[in-house]
């Protein structure tokens, strides 16, 4: 039995964190160790989100943790919020995805684009886990190009009528409420995109699990169909407008994902390091061989770089000067880094590395989704390319 996870901190990055940020990190780390690690292997193999963890996560305060206390949230700064995402993803990307969606893609848009009534009604219920949310932006034919969406919202005398289909929706099947993005104008009118709060109980709203996933198996991924879904007039998020609104949400979520990648990479490095010292081959630990040391040195270096870059990103966010391009750089770098770390750790573990009792292959498979969602690696490359040249290549 391995020792409890103690993190990776080669550059004393801890000394750059406040006492409160460290306390938040340590609390979530202890929760993950105690509640998530014992169940995640089975949940992954079964292909089921461990729902029993939701009340504990909510009680701890991880849902929408960087939103204000007046709405039932913890009111943490963005570095502490990032550290929560790091620790959750140290356990499993699917669990971090659950928290990201609830906080950054459901609570954040209600907080940012919602009316005071909507905030007062929904945010405390989402923070307490009483309501579970999902974010309906991506469509079967519109992933990297969400502005092309064909879901529509038409205003009638009774309210808004929504029609369309959404795909790859995390939390979709278990959500009790969905933030649906739809065009209120013509199909080419990107500016007419608005957000709607749609309870899952609305007539004409159906969600079904997407089957056959080989990644994020402990996460709920669904397809949502909206067929003449009638919601009241006040279901619209009044301050939402244009494709910029959902993209602002994605910037929030990607910020957390950048931190999450560090968590997954640390989990893999930690597992590989301890295995390399225990596994004896040719009469000595494999950690005493140059090839395995090369793997470990590479992982440690990349994790340390990512820690410093992401902490600075968090400080910029807390200062209010963070740009979406900076988030793209961190998401792109950290998830690619985590993919590599997971793959190398899996290889270092040899045949054992394919077993679910070790964590690296689960992370490796999960991270392939994370590499692709919330802006694919390639899209972030193009965003950065555009940022530095001023010339869009997409």
């Amino acid at each position: 039995m391995a020792n409890a996870f103690a993190g990776v901190d080669f550059y004393d990055v801890d000394s750059l964190l406040s006492e409160e940020e460290r306390a938040v990190r340590d609390t979530v780390r202890a929760w993950v160790e105690e509640h998530l690690m014992p169940v995640i292997g089975d949940a992954y193999v079964e292909g089921a989100f461990p729902k029993q963890l939701i009340p504990g996560m909510a009680e701890l305060g991880v849902l929408g943790a960087n939103l204000p206390e007046e709405y039932g949230c913890a009111g943490l700064n963005n570095v502490a919020y990032g550290l929560i995402m790091q620790e959750l993803e140290r356990g499993d990307s699917g669990i971090r995805s659950f928290a990201s969606v609830q906080g950054a893609l459901v609570m954040y848009p209600i907080f940012t684009f919602g009316s005071e009534e909507q905030k007062k009604y929904w945010l405390p219920r989402l923070a307490s886990g009483e309501e579970i949310g999902c974010f309906g932006l991506t469509e079967p034919d519109y992933g990297s190009n969400p502005g092309g969406m064909i879901t529509t919202a038409r205003e009638t005398k009774d309210g808004w009528v929504l029609n369309g289909a959404k795909m790859w929706i995390t939390n979709g099947s278990q959500a009790t409420v969905s933030i649906i993005w739809a065009k209120t104008g013509g199909i080419d009118d990107v500016k007419s995109i608005r957000g709607f709060i749609v309870p899952a109980s609305t007539k004409g709203y159906t969600a079904k699990d997407q089957k056959g996933k080989l990644s994020l198996r402990a996460s709920d991924t669904s397809e949502i169909v909206l067929q003449d879904c009638l919601v009241p007039k006040d279901a619209i998020l009044p301050k939402s407008g244009g494709i910029k609104s959902p993209l602002m949400c994605l910037t929030q979520a990607r910020y957390g994902i950048a931190w999450g990648g560090i968590g997954a990479a640390m989990a893999c490095y930690d597992e590989a390091l301890s295995y390399s010292k225990e596994r004896i081959m040719f009469g000595k630990p494999i950690g005493q061989t140059q090839l395995q040391q090369s793997r470990l040195a590479e992982m440690l270096t990349e994790i340390t770089k990512a820690q410093l870059l992401t902490l600075q990103l968090g400080r910029l966010k807390d200062r209010g000067t963070m740009t979406p391009d900076q988030v793209s750089l961190a998401k792109r770098n950290n998830i690619n880094m985590a993919c590599e770390a997971a793959r190398e750790a899996r290889r270092l573990l040899g045949a054992n590395g394919i077993l679910v009792e070790y964590h690296s292959m689960r992370h490796m498979a999960n991270l392939e989704s994370v590499y692709t969602y919330e802006g694919t690696h390639d899209m972030h490359t193009l965003i950065l390319g555009q940022a530095v040249t001023g010339l869009p290549a997409f």
Binding site: A6, E19, A23, T27, A30, E59, G75, A80
Partner: protein, 250 residues
């Protein structure tokens, strides 16, 4: 119900540690500190008592340098109401010196209960609780695993080897806590934020005289390397002889 819980900041002994150059203390480099395990159980016990009674105050107290404030704030994050740091450059090894400082602070505090963990996970002396009780002139029950309080009296259970002992005592009293009363809760994120706003008083520690000092800390000697006596059945007589005469286990 007013409860004081005395807590100690200790290094996490599950992590790798080294003995410092002077041979008398651990090398602080790379150590991670936290509330001593049993002290966490004591904070949990106090919070549960106050919650079950619907009213009361839990005050956490720690002797030591400014660093103990982090440990005190962790307890505040769990739900304790206020904290007192008895400021001392270092924590003496001698339990009597610590007990004197605690007793001086707690004596006039009007506490119904003073709780301790049954021992600190670093020094493992198990002395400060009973010594504080003695200095305060209060009854003391050690290493309890169950606690009920009603009408100015307490009932506690202690786990003995193969038996349970039930002890009754009048309040106020000093109690040291074993496991069994419920695992310490994690500080919630809201609790961590709230802890910053809760009162944390710093007072000079009135330490007693220290008569004990640590002479040396030594790790157990390395095990001698194994050796191969021979192979197959022919080696058995020699193996038995060595197990009898050298290892002395047969």
């Amino acid at each position: 119900m007013k409860i004081a819980v005395c807590i100690k900041r200790v290094p996490d002994m599950d992590l790798r540690f080294a003995i410092g150059a002077d041979g008398k203390a651990l090398d602080p480099a790379g150590l991670k500190f936290d509330i001593a395990d049993f002290d966490g159980y004591a904070v949990e016990a106090a919070l549960r008592l106050v919650e079950s009674q619907g009213a009361g105050e839990v005050v956490v107290v720690s002797v030591g340098p400014a660093a103990v404030q982090e440990t005190l704030r962790k307890a505040l994050g769990m739900g304790a109401h206020r904290a007192i740091q008895l400021d001392a450059a270092e924590v003496p090894f001698d339990g009597m010196a610590i007990a004197a400082a605690l007793a001086a602070e707690l004596k006039e505090g009007g506490y119904d209960l003073v709780l301790f963990g049954r021992m600190a996970t670093d020094s493992a002396n198990q002395t400060v609780g009973p010594m504080t009780a003695h200095l305060m002139g209060l009854p003391c029950v050690t290493a309890i695993s169950k606690l009920d309080v009603a009408d100015g009296r307490g009932t506690a259970e202690r786990q003995l080897e193969g038996a349970t002992e039930t002890v009754e005592f009048p309040l106020p009293a000093v109690i040291t806590i074993d496991e069994g009363l419920g695992r310490p809760r994690l500080p919630s994120l809201k609790g961590i934020m709230a802890a910053k706003k809760k009162p944390l008083e710093v007072k000079p520690a009135q330490l007693g005289a220290a008569h004990l000092t640590v002479d040396v800390i030594a790790l157990p000697p390395d095990r001698p390397p194994g050796r191969i006596i021979g192979e197959g059945a022919d080696a058995v007589p020699e193996l038995i002889r060595l197990l009898q005469t050298e290892a002395k286990v047969l």
